[in-house]
């Protein structure tokens, strides 16, 4: 049995050919992966918030901050998803991007898509507050721990 296997192995080595096993990843794949990443993040946050809704934890204050943070991250993800979509949709001629970055602009005619693109590009207006509330939640958790420790010491 092992002899037959050895013969077969040697023959495979002596007669090589294309395996066709390695898939080539072209340019649009990164865009799709990135969008799928946002969708995955969105679905995980929805799952997380649903879980917290069904089984409300305590204490309330840190969890409230955490939920706000997650909700803002949810909005940010949706915003980013839309922003990426329209960024991909807009033609190169829709933007004027000279070397002077202070002169960059969206060229007329200004369509709804271009407005949406403009607005959704300001995603930091969502993710920065989300991060801020995450910090608040962590600090609130910390305060809770401190008060628990002092209660135990007391």
């Amino acid at each position: 049995m092992s002899f037959m296997f050895a013969i077969s192995f040697i023959l495979f080595l002596l007669i090589p050919g294309p395996s066709l096993a390695v898939q080539v990843h072209g340019p649009p794949e990164g865009y799709y992966v990135h969008q799928i990443g946002h969708l995955l993040f969105i679905s995980s946050i929805i799952f997380f918030l649903t879980f917290l809704k069904l089984d409300p934890p305590s204490p309330r204050r840190p969890w409230m901050f955490l939920k706000i943070s997650m909700f803002l991250f949810l909005l940010w993800n949706i915003n980013a998803l839309i922003a990426h979509y329209f960024s991909n949709m807009l033609p190169r001629e829709a933007l004027d991007t000279p070397l002077d970055i202070f002169s960059h602009r969206i060229l007329p005619p200004i369509t709804t898509e271009k407005y949406i693109y403009f607005i959704t590009r300001n995603d930091h207006l969502l993710c920065v507050p989300a991060m801020f509330f995450l910090v608040l939640a962590l600090r609130a958790f910390r305060q809770t721990l401190d008060s628990e420790d002092s209660a135990e010491d007391g």
Binding site: G30, V33, H34, G37, H38, L40, F41, S43, S44, I45, F47, F48, F51, D55, M70, N77, L95, D96, T97, L99, D100, I101, F102, H104, R105, I106, L107, P108, I110, K114, F118, R121, N122, D123, H124, L125, C127, V128, M131, F132, L134, V135, A137, L138, R139, F141, R142, L145
Partner: protein, 515 residues
């Protein structure tokens, strides 16, 4: 060429990127502290790795945006285009990590919650088990204590009833359903004449009943009514003498329906019965004596007149031989009648007041024996005389005592006929404090059916003309007159009499004597 400037967008982008980096670093620091403080917390672990992912995202994105501005501003947008995919890929990866962590945390929490719930269940079960164990331990201790208490109570009760059973002077018995004796107390065995209860166990209760019809009546009452109360009957024990018992018995209820056996207490009323019989007999004898005394008084006077006139006529008709002989016959028979009347008065103690003085009983016995000696020798009757020395003198009339001894010896002679033994015992009974005279003979004995009548006046078994039936009744009257007792034992049960072959023994006890 108008349009919308992207400058505000870039400004927000740039500023926001920097703030994001700052916030993410702070967040990582806070999460790290939380995790360090509570390393076993799934939440803090999740938040820590989430913050790491966000920090990686923020830094990557911020660097990307900053570099983009720099490279475009420096006139090398192609460099930015080369770097951009790395930045984008890293951002995507951080989403995936954050998403994975966010998916994973609730699941882990749910798993932990289930494990915790199971642990709680197990803890509750353990607590319940411990409580049950404690309860069982307590119950066991309580049970042990109660068993101990009950055992002590039962033991005390058993001892109490055992003492009652063993110490009772009555006969206590237990029988099975077939009336086989299963248990009996020691005193009960003694009443029946046995040494030990073992000698009686297993025997039928019926075998002790003297009369079959009484046994039938006893069983009938016991089985029909379930009990008998104060049932008087006569038992035949090991000894020949009858035992009079008063039985109270009842059926014992078994574990199932029906009688499982019988238990009873029998009181020995032999002495009581004998005493009652004696009392009745004394009363009867007193009544007979009173009647006899009345008759004797009434008859005595006419007899005296008849005798007086007869003697006067004899004086007048002394020459008339034929009439004189008739008068002598009248005189002789009248004297016989007077003697009988005298005897009756002696029996009834209604003669003149008894003279009582110290009487040497031994001398009386020897005197009477000497009178009768020749008569006994003629009929080949042996005499056994056992007289204790230095006996106290009894308070009585010597002549009348002589008459009693003579009556008893005559009766003994008549009972033997020819060839036999007459035994006389005279002694002081220390226990009863009495001077006792016993006269026994080896005659045929007195049948039980007439034993109770022998002291009645005119009762005799001798042929007509040989005895008047007044001898024993006169003796009875005399002994009673001096506060003594006379009794008959036929046969005498004491073993000391067996060697003489005595079948009848008269025992006279004198309680009045000089010490």
């Amino acid at each position: 060429m108008e349009g919308i400037s992207l400058y505000p967008v870039y400004l927000v982008d740039f500023t926001g990127a920097i703030i994001m980096v700052v916030f993410s670093v702070i967040a990582v620091y806070e999460a790290y502290r939380l995790r360090r403080e509570r390393p076993d917390s799934v939440l803090f672990s999740y938040l820590f790795w989430l913050c790491i992912a966000f920090a990686a995202f923020s830094i990557s994105r911020s660097f990307g945006h900053t570099l983009r501005f720099l490279f475009i501003w420096a006139g090398h947008p192609e460099v930015w285009r080369a770097i951009s995919p790395f930045s984008g890929g890293l951002n995507t990866l951080t989403f995936a990590v954050a998403a994975t962590l966010t998916f994973y945390y609730p699941n882990v929490t749910m798993v932990i919650a289930r494990i915790r719930a199971k642990a709680e269940d197990l803890k509750r079960a353990k607590d319940q088990l411990e409580k049950a164990h404690d309860s069982l331990t307590l119950l066991n201790r309580t049970l042990e204590r109660r068993v101990e208490e009950r055992s002590q109570e039962l033991l005390a009760s058993e001892r109490k009833f055992r003492r009652l059973f063993q110490g009772s002077r009555d006969l206590i018995f237990f029988c099975d359903r077939e009336f086989q004796i299963t248990d009996l107390n020691q005193w009960g065995a003694n009443i029946l004449g046995y040494e030990s209860p073992e000698d009686v166990r297993g025997r039928s209760l019926a075998s002790f009943f003297h009369e079959d019809k009484e046994w039938d009546l006893f069983v009938h009452q016991l089985t029909v009514d379930g009990f008998v109360k104060d049932f008087e009957t006569m038992f035949s024990g090991r000894r020949d003498e009858p035992i009079f018992l008063m039985i109270t018995a009842e059926g014992l209820q078994g574990p199932q329906d029906g009688i499982d056996g019988y238990a009873g207490i029998a009181k020995d009323i032999t002495s009581y019965r004998r005493m009652t019989e004696n009392l009745i007999y004394s009363e009867k004898m007193a009544a007979i004596g009173q009647m006899a005394a009345g008759i004797a008084h009434e008859v005595n006077t006419p007899l005296g007149i008849i005798l007086g006139y007869t003697q006067m006529l004899k004086d007048d008709l002394s020459n008339d031989q034929e009439r004189f002989a008739d008068l002598e016959t009248i005189e002789r028979q009248t004297k016989n009648c007077k003697r009988i009347v005298h005897d009756l008065l002696s029996f009834a103690r209604s003669s003149s007041a008894p003279e009582s003085g110290p009487v040497d009983l031994a001398a009386c016995v020897r005197h009477t024996m000497s009178v009768m000696q020749h008569s006994f020798e003629m009929d080949s009757i042996d005499i056994h005389l056992a007289i204790q020395e230095d006996l106290p003198h009894v308070l009585a009339d010597g002549d009348r005592i002589n008459q009693v001894v003579l009556n008893l010896l005559t009766n003994a002679h008549d009972a033997i006929g020819q060839k036999g033994l007459i035994a006389l015992f005279l002694y002081f009974d220390e226990k009863r404090e009495a001077v006792v005279l016993e006269v026994g003979d080896s005659g045929a004995g007195i049948p039980p059916e007439i034993r109770d009548r022998i002291f009645e006046p005119f009762f005799t078994t001798k042929p007509v003309g040989k005895g008047t039936g007044l001898g024993l009744s006169v003796s009875y009257g005399i002994i009673n007159e001096y506060g003594g007792e006379i009794e008959v034992l036929s046969p005498p049960l004491d073993e000391s009499y067996e060697k003489y072959g005595l079948n009848t023994l008269f025992r006279i006890s004198f309680y009045q004597f000089l010490r």
